[in-house]
Structure formats: C-alpha cells, structure tokens
Symmetry: C2
DNA sequence: CGGCATCCACACGGATACTG
DNA sequence: CAGTATCCGTGTGGATGCCG
C-alpha cells in the first residue's frame, strides 16, 4: 500500500506524516503559529537562535506542503504574514497526541 | 517550562517526542515490532535496504530510550530478540494519530 | 522588512569488510 | 548470527553578507 500526500509518497503512514514535521524548528513554528498568525520578524523573534536561511527554508516547506499560508502585503516596508491552514490545524490535532505523551512521561 | 524524558530535555513537548522517533527507519521498526517481537536478522529482512550500521544504531537508540527491550540469549549461534516495552506501546498509541492523519489525507 | 546567496563544518546514511 | 570498524558522499544547520 502506498500513501500519498501532495508530492510525497511512503509505504509507511507514520513516516509520511513525520516527513512533513520532523525537520528542525518545524514543531516550534507550528506551536507558535497555532496561537496566532505572525509576520516573519515576529516569528523569528519567537524562535531564539534560528537563522534566516533555516527559518525561511522551513517556512517554504510548510507552505508548499499546505500546512501554512503565506500572505504578502504590497506595502513599504514589506509585510508577510504566516498562518495555519485548515490542514495545518488538522495535523496539529494529530501531533497533540505527541505533546500529551511527553507531558505524561515528563520527568521519567 | 522544561520537558524531560530520560536524558533528553526540550522546551517543546512535540519536539521531545519527535526526537525519539524521527530518525530514519525508526517509524518502520516500531511499526514492525508492534506486530510481533523479532530477532535482529528477521527485523533486517523486514526492512529491505537498511544497512547493519544504521539498523543497529537505530535499535541502540530505541533501546536506550526505553521504547524497545533487547534480550540476548547465550546460545550458539547467538540470538537477540527485540520487543516493544510498555513505553514503546504507549508512544505507538500517540503516533497512531499521525498514521490516521496520513490515511485521512491520503490522495490529497 | 523579509528574505536569498555563499561558505563552512559536521552529522548522517549507506557500502563494504571484518569479528566474537 | 549479530553485530562493529572504516571510509565516503551527501544533506543540513548555522554564520555572515547582501539585496529588492
């Protein structure tokens, strides 16, 4: 059996979902944007230590994979807003189980 | 807030759980062992394409992280059995939500 | 402001050969 | 049988500098 999501395929449905979210910073990006939409600079400020290259690469991935929306306003200075999509929200529900596991096992 | 599991810590509970399972082959190892305990050679045969080095490194990780048990029998030829621990089973329950997400989104 | 280009160092997966 | 040792190519993260 092959599982498909957009351009990705895998024999293992775990792996397919993990491939969308397991890169560095992605879980935190989703965690932050789950609370509120943010523009690029605010997002970067919320993630101390991330570089522009890595952050923009992660945002590109998440946007291309349909988990985030990217809205660019034709203003000066430029403004770009990132927000969760419905698919992003649904995957957040799925990974909430991972959060709960960590909380339940906390300290062990 | 800091989340702790054995030797690992993270500010983000998603990331803590993901760090345990997101390396290559780990999801499939867990998927296979969820069905039945297996010895090393059978596990390798169930994962076409994996090398000894990578497989044994992943098994070491999972064992050290308490998700798998490793039982070595003092026989000739040697026999080593890998099986899920209760913690491994509980994390499988958590990542089942990821599997369900992939299945629900399948083909989109 | 919101990136991208470049460069570097290191971690990782994979192939092969060898061993208790 | 169940690994370890070694080497290698690639990918990834991070730092810095520049640009529309």
């Amino acid at each position: 059996m092959k599982y498909v999501y957009r351009n990705r395929t895998s024999d293992c449905p775990y792996e397919l979902t993990l491939s969308l979210i397991s890169k560095r910073w992605k879980p935190r990006i989703l965690e932050v944007l789950a609370q509120q939409s943010l523009r690029y600079g605010d997002l970067k400020a919320a993630l101390p230590g991330v570089s522009d290259k890595v952050l923009s690469a992660a945002l590109d991935d998440l946007t291309r994979d349909g988990l985030l929306s990217r809205t660019s306003f034709a203003e000066i200075p430029p403004r770009v807003e990132y927000a969760m999509t419905p698919q992003g929200d649904s995957i957040l529900t799925a990974i909430a189980a991972l959060r709960d596991w960590a909380i339940r096992e906390n300290g062990r």
